[in-house]
């Protein structure tokens, strides 16, 4: 666009060139009358002045009917500044002339009024060459009633003397009337000085000034008429005789030139025609103007008068634009010299022309739309040939660009704008800045955001350049901020981070952000500097080199030392909001986990709907299976937190900076229920993942959302919300249940060293351990202290172990009632619970087979050996049919060293004891594998209270109890013997002392025995026989022998266990304990002795009653009369009893000889069937016997029932046999 | 045909076999073949290949111009023949018909293998979609095989 012959036509002398560019000019301004609006004196507030300025600016066009009755549409342009030098270009382009002046002033005194008048007059003098008319609007003291005063004369009236001025005259008459009115009413009269020759309008400050517009219209009318007269004057001039019009810098060029030359004549004509075109345009005669411009262009072209040709072209363009686009709005009349902070600029200062009645096509000489820019281009090329016309060129570029914008030709507009920067002007910094700002504004209008931002940035740097005498950092800052848009920087970091694609140019963004940090700092707004630096670190982190990261972090630290960064929006004076910037990269969060409460603090449902399969409770939360799958529920925790409890979130933090980073005041960010977060401070080493736990407690129950965490590092407070961080759910939701009490539990026993053998010990809060000898008992006092602010209203105690429940109940006993009586347990109070511990063990060596003990209570290896030891006796039932005779076998013969194997082989070991109460040291062998056993158990406390209790929750904690059970006493063998009285029998026990101490064993209330450590001893215990009443059922319904036999066994066993009270006392430690014979097993033979027989015997020999153990003596050949009486002591009749009497010889080697036919002879039958015996009935039988040989004989009297006494047929074919025991010994001499 | 053309065909059929097999391993319950993988391979191929194929081309005037390019130069480059018929409703729907589609021509013409046809057109659907996407036209591409080896590709342009 630039002319290649730039500057050749202009001299480089210091000619007065127009040095004040008006970047705001529109093409339409060519048609406008220029009016300067000024404020005089300091009394009038800026705000008020601006209000009035805006008000009169609306009056930007008036319709005036001219002398021939045609309506002219006149445009007016108001300006606040007009450099007087620009007036010099008024011949070149008449719209540059200042035609009118309106001043505003306020006074309180005559002196002030005088001053205002003086200044007004001075202004008039300044623009005297071009000024047509002026008005001075004066605001008097506010107490005054609205008044007006005018002076009748006007300094400029001389100029307008030639106008036909009837309209003015009429107004003057009106005003005179008002003047009279004023003088009558006002108390204090202010008068303008006599040399003040301006029409003044007087108002009070509060006056609405309703007639202001009317007066102004008058004023504009007067301007028009003066202009119109000038135009007419011009138009009447003869073209051949016109003088040469000159641009200011041309004056010298034409000195001494022959003005009469044909060329110069044409030049004069052309320029004059162009000038006339300008006047016509201003006077609202567009058609004439176009014709004049057209003609002027023709003429000027022919004489190569480039500058004026350019002006003629420009005139054509503007006139055309007026026709084609009458409604171009004055865009962005930003008052560039006033700061941007004046609120949003009014963009609607439009030239609202009434619809022109000109049909576009009909106007001759208009250019086609596309020609406008071409002609403009030509004009600009022509202007560019003159260095001194630089400003004209610049303005033309802007005007052309604006028309291109209107035509929607962005590229064209851009090329005009691009040309602007090539124009070499000597401009002040301020003007340069304005140029960039205007450029930026126009680029923005054509959508060239990047270019606009580029210009904004250039303008910003100019504001603070070294050449600028008055650097303005605040303006610089504002422009920098505006240029963000074109660099795709959003002020909101979350927005910057959310777009996954990198669209901006990070290098430039970083640069710009650095610059704005400096600007903010220099501007003195440390908070902003900190904010932008934070933003830079946060959003540009991935694009920064490691060194930059470090560098900026250090810079941030020093910036924030002046003003700490905090996560709140900053609002600038112009209303711009700078959203908070949060550092989520420093430190980097690599993990965020909500922690469940400690097991013993976790809430449990008091009522569990499903029966728990095991003794251990799991959190009874059941999500619907569908819910669990949906993504939303993932953020919902499947555990609870409790109101007022300390809850934890663990974070994994990494410090990416190469130096140690201190992060203080870390808290959790939550929503939902009130949550009190406890601040945490951590020092993170460089690049090492560190786990940090953030604590807090919810203060309400309900749903809690954990949104993230806050940090304070590098002097910046940040709210790091997971929502805006990569790799996290937007939030975590957790249910907070109402408050529950907490307790502290102590025991009176020492704590266990370890308790690792138990599977579930996670909610164990304390432990207790003790050792007890089997049979010993002790107490453990558990103190439960309420450490919370909530009363404990519910407290349940249960014991858990892998022991069989009945055994467990034997070992651990407590009184629940005592405990419940202590409730509710108020805050700070304690309750105590006494647990009775009893070392329950099986004291029977052979009986170590109870099913309750075989389940592996004893976790130690001893258990297995004990269990294997019990294998023998468990086979007892198989020996039910063992020969009856063997029970009377030889004493001691079956004793073995290995107790177990002896049990396995036969029962003879048990039945071999014939002597009682005799100690047989060395004869009895101690069990070798009996060792102490350890019982692990958990005493579980479930407790609740307060609102959590209402909601159905409790807590559960456990005390781990380790009980070592040390063997004390053991019964290694036992047997039964008939006692002297029929109602009793002797239980003979081999008692072993398994301790190393001397032990005293009490086996009857009056009898005791001392046993050395690891010794054993045999004791007889008289026991009442098991009464028939306990056994009734077996005689009632004998359905199946085997099972009943076992039941019978059990009843008898229990009978013995209940009656026999063994207690021991360790002498050296004074430890006492009790032993139980529970689970003692009995053979069928024993059973007969143990229980009462339904049959009562009465044996008479030679009419002498035989007592048990009694011996009968007789001689060979003597006849013994045997009378046997059998009576039924049972409640039922006994049938089909067979009574038999037999003799035998016992060889005491296990052999018994029943073949005694050669040695004795019976008279009478030895075997009879008795008649049915009703209860209490008695049957008798008698027979005689004669012995042939001397010797020891035994008499066996027995009574057998084929079907076990019952009348119904028995499955068991063996029936039952009762004997008279012991067999009567007969010594035959 | 040159060796590289053969290789292209073999590679194509192996890609299909591989994808189908992998899907079968993954889940057996779905009856239809999951062809989205193959389609995506086609998409990336198309996205990349268009860059090269349009290198010497002038800028396209409009959408139709672009489609014509797809039918001629683009198709020739990949399938060694041009599209036989292009139809459009001028509202963003284009139907490209290839009467002897290269990947179907080696398969028996009868109805017998018709059910396998979708496997052999999925890649091409992706190629078309990828190519157009890189040219700034977002669209849905579906294929229709009624008589082997003829194939119709329906392009439905997604307007913003």
């Amino acid at each position: 666009m630039r002319s290649s012959v730039s500057y050749i036509l202009s001299s480089t002398t210091t000619e007065p060139n127009m040095s004040h560019p008006d970047y705001e000019q529109l093409a339409h301004d060519h048609a406008a009358l220029l009016v300067l609006v000024r404020q005089i004196g300091s009394q009038l507030k800026n705000k008020m002045f601006n209000k009035f300025y805006d008000r009169i600016s609306r009056l930007n066009s008036v319709n005036i009917t001219d002398s021939v009755g045609q309506v002219r549409n006149i445009y007016i342009r108001y300006v606040k500044e007009h450099p007087v030098e620009n007036n010099l270009w008024g011949d070149f382009q008449t719209h540059r002339r200042l035609l009118g002046l309106v001043t505003f002033g306020k006074y309180d005194s005559q002196q002030e009024l005088n001053d205002i008048c003086r200044v007004h007059e001075q202004l008039k003098v300044k623009y005297i060459t071009t000024l047509f008319d002026s008005r001075c609007i004066l605001f008097g003291p506010s107490s005054d009633s609205p008044t007006e005063e005018t002076t009748s004369s006007d300094a400029t009236s001389s100029i307008s003397s030639s106008t036909d001025a009837h309209s003015i005259k009429t107004t003057e008459k009106d005003l005179e009337k008002k003047e009279l009115y004023f003088e009558e009413n006002d108390k204090e009269v202010f008068t303008t000085p006599s040399n003040f020759k301006t029409r003044a309008l007087f108002y009070s400050e509060t006056d609405p000034c309703a007639d202001l517009e009317a007066h102004l219209t008058d004023f504009l009318n007067s301007l028009f008429w003066v202009l119109e007269s000038k135009r007419l004057e011009r138009s009447r001039e003869k073209l051949e005789r016109v003088s040469l019009l000159l641009a200011p810098f041309e004056k010298k060029d034409f000195v001494g030139l022959d003005m009469e030359s044909r060329n110069n004549k044409r030049r004069c004509t052309g320029r004059s025609t162009k000038h006339l075109g300008d006047l016509c345009l201003q006077a609202g005669l567009i058609t004439e103007a176009l014709t004049h411009y057209h003609n002027a262009a023709e003429t000027l072209k022919s004489v190569n008068d480039w500058l004026w040709l350019g002006a003629a072209y420009e005139g054509l363009c503007t006139a055309t634009a007026l026709v084609l686009y009458p409604n171009i709005y004055r865009n962005a009349p930003l008052h560039r010299n006033s700061s941007l902070q004046e609120g949003s600029p009014k963009r609607s200062n439009s030239i609202t022309t009434p619809i022109l009645d000109i049909v576009k096509k009909e106007v001759p000489n208009t250019l086609p739309p596309e020609e406008i820019s071409k002609k403009y281009r030509e004009a600009i090329v022509h202007y560019s040939k003159y260095q001194n016309a630089g400003i004209i060129e610049t303005e033309a570029c802007f005007k052309a660009a604006r028309i291109s914008v209107e035509q929607n030709h962005p590229l064209q507009a851009a090329s005009f704008l691009q040309n602007v920067v090539f124009i070499n002007l000597t401009l002040s910094e301020q003007e340069r800045i304005q140029r960039f700002e205007t450029l930026s504004d126009l680029y923005m209008q054509i959508g060239f955001m990047r270019k606009a931002s580029f210009c904004q940035r250039l303008a910003a740097t100019r504001y603070v350049s070294a050449q600028n005498p008055t650097p303005n950092w605040s303006q610089c800052y504002n422009l920098m901020l505006q240029s963000f848009r074109g660099h795709k920087i959003s002020l909101d970091p979350t927005e910057m981070m959310s777009t996954n694609v990198q669209v901006g140019w990070s290098t430039l963004q970083i640069q710009l952000l650095q610059e704005i940090v400096v600007a903010a700092k220099r501007m003195g707004h440390s908070a902003l500097a900190t904010r932008h630096m934070t933003f830079l670190l946060q959003t540009m982190w991935p694009y920064l080199s490691i060194n930059d990261q470090k560098e900026f972090a250090i810079q941030l630290q020093s910036l924030s030392a002046q003003c700490e960064g905090s996560p709140v929006s900053l609002v600038l004076d112009n209303g711009t909001v700078i959203p908070p910037a949060n550092l989520t990269n420093i430190p980097i969060c690599a993990g965020f986990n909500l922690r469940n409460l400690q097991p013993h603090l976790r809430p449990r449902k008091i009522q569990v709907l499903k029966q728990d399969s095991g003794p251990f409770l799991f959190t009874p939360i059941n999500f619907g299976s569908l819910e669990r799958k949906s993504a939303k529920v993932q953020s919902k925790m499947d555990f609870f937190w409790i109101e007022n409890d300390l809850c934890e979130v663990t974070l994994k933090l990494v410090n990416p900076l190469p130096f140690e980073l201190k992060v203080s005041n870390m808290r959790l960010l939550t929503s939902g229920v009130v949550f009190e977060s406890i601040p945490e401070t951590v020092v993170l080493p460089s690049d090492t993942p560190t786990l940090v736990t953030l604590n807090g407690s919810p203060k309400e129950s309900g749903e809690l959302e954990v949104l993230g965490y806050s940090t304070h590092t590098l002097g910046v407070k940040s709210n790091c919300r997971l929502r805006y961080m990569k790799g996290f759910l937007p939030q975590y939701t957790i249910e907070v249940i109402p408050t529950l009490p907490t307790v502290e539990v102590k025991t009176s026993l020492p704590e266990s060293a370890t308790f690792s053998t138990f599977q579930n010990f996670e909610n164990v809060v304390t432990s207790a351990s003790l050792s007890l000898y089997n049979g010993e008992s002790t107490q453990c006092v558990i103190t439960i202290a309420n450490t919370s602010q909530v009363p404990v209203e519910m407290l349940e105690v249960s014991i858990q172990s892998v022991l069989e429940p009945s055994l467990q109940d034997q070992i651990f006993k407590w009184s629940n009632d005592d405990l419940q009586k202590q409730l509710p347990l108020l805050p700070g109070n304690s309750a105590s619970l006494t647990i009775n511990l009893y070392s329950a063990a099986n004291f029977l060596a052979s009986g170590f087979n109870g099913p309750e003990l075989s389940s592996g209570v004893f976790g130690s290896s001893h258990a297995s050996s004990i269990m294997s030891a019990s294998a023998g006796p468990s086979s007892l039932p198989s020996r039910l049919n063992s020969p009856v005779h063997s029970t009377m076998g030889n004493s001691f013969h079956g004793r073995r060293n290995d107790l177990n194997s002896s049990f396995r082989s036969s029962n003879s070991g048990q039945s071999s004891m014939t002597t009682t109460g005799c100690r047989s040291p060395g004869a009895l062998t101690l069990p070798q594998h009996v060792a102490s056993a350890v019982v692990d158990a958990q005493l579980q406390l479930r407790f609740s209270g307060g609102s959590g209790f209402q909601a159905g929750y409790c807590r559960s904690c456990s005390i781990f109890i380790t009980l070592e059970m040390i063997p004390s006493m053991q019964v290694t063998n036992w047997d039964v013997l008939p006692a002297e009285t029929y109602s009793q029998f002797y239980l003979v026990l081999d008692v072993a002392n398994l301790t190393s101490q001397e032990m005293e064993v009490y086996y009857t209330p009056s009898k005791h025995m001392l046993i050395e450590g690891h010794e054993s001893c045999r004791v007889p215990v008289p026991v009442d026989r098991c009464p028939l009443s306990k056994l009734t059922k077996f005689y009632m319904e004998q359905k199946s022998g085997l099972d009943d036999r076992l039941d019978l066994d059990k009843i008898c066993s229990e009978h013995i266990a209940n009656l026999v009270d063994l207690s021991w006392h360790l002498m050296s430690t004074d430890t006492r304990g009790k032993a139980s014979l529970k689970g003692i097993t009995l053979t069928p033979n024993m059973l007969d002795i143990v229980r009462m027989s339904p049959i009562q015997w009465e044996v008479l020999i030679n009419d002498g009653l035989i007592k048990p153990q009694e011996e009968v003596n007789c001689v060979v050949g003597e006849c013994l009369e045997i009378k046997v009486g059998v009576s039924n002591c049972f409640e039922k009749p006994l049938r089909q009893l067979t009574l038999s009497v037999q003799f035998y010889q016992d060889y005491q080697n296990g052999m018994q000889n029943y073949q005694l036919e050669t040695r004795l002879a019976f008279t009478g039958t030895t075997k009879i069937i008795l008649p049915p015996l009703e209860p209490q009935d008695k049957a008798k039988h008698a027979c005689n016997v004669v012995f042939f040989n001397s010797g020891h004989y035994k008499m066996d009297i027995q009574c057998s029932a084929p079907e076990c006494l019952a009348s119904t047929p028995s499955v068991n074919t063996t029936g039952h046999i009762w004997r008279f025991l012991p067999a009567i010994e007969v010594n035959v001499n | 045909m040159s060796m590289s053309d053969d290789l292209f065909e073999f590679l194509h059929s192996e890609v299909i076999n591989y994808s189908i097999q992998r899907n079968e391993i993954k889940k057996k319950e779905s009856k239809d073949d999951d062809l989205s993988n193959i389609e995506f391979i086609g998409f990336s191929t198309g996205f990349k290949v268009i860059e090269r194929l349009t290198k010497e081309m002038p800028r396209f005037k409009d959408e139709l111009d672009t489609m014509k390019f797809i039918c001629t130069d683009f198709w020739s480059a990949i399938y060694k023949k041009q599209i036989d018929n292009l139809r459009t409703n001028h509202q963003g729907v284009y139907v490209l018909q290839d009467n002897a589609f290269r990947f179907l021509i080696k398969i028996s013409n009868g109805k017998q293998y018709l059910e396998y046809a979708p496997r052999y057109v999925a890649f091409t659907c992706g190629v078309i979609r990828g190519g157009l996407a890189n040219l700034g036209i977002n669209c849905l591409v579906t294929a229709e095989v009624q008589n082997m080896p003829s194939c119709k590709f329906h392009i439905q342009v997604q307007r913003m």
Partner: protein, 107 residues
């Protein structure tokens, strides 16, 4: 010789940037970035049906010291070359062939 070359993606993000003098990179980045406005506008104009079908867009900006040229592939990948204004030896055709080479190298 060009002093700077850039490849800009579909989304106008920088993909490749190189210039002869690394110290000047920032300046060039500003220049290239603001020239994208013209590129977009030209493409816009092309879309509206003006008959500009060449991938080479010609000169985008003529600055005091540099000239910026643009080239946009059919897939909207932009190539930008900056040449010194004083280098009058560089003709349009040479710039065009430079772009062609760039395009061949990339595609």
């Amino acid at each position: 010789m060009a002093v700077c070359a850039a490849i800009v993606g579909k989304d106008n993000s920088p993909k490749y940037f190189a210039c002869t003098n690394p110290d000047e990179e920032l300046n060039f980045q500003y220049k290239v970035l603001s020239s994208l406005d013209v590129v977009e506008e030209k493409l816009n104009a092309a879309n509206k049906g003006s008959d500009m079908r060449e991938l080479y867009l010609g000169i985008l900006y003529s600055l005091e010291t540099h000239k910026i040229y643009g080239y946009v592939t059919n897939t909207k990948i932009k190539f930008i070359i900056v040449a010194e204004s004083t280098n009058t030896a560089l003709r349009d055709n040479e710039i065009r062939s430079m772009f062609r080479k760039l395009h061949s190298l990339r595609a």
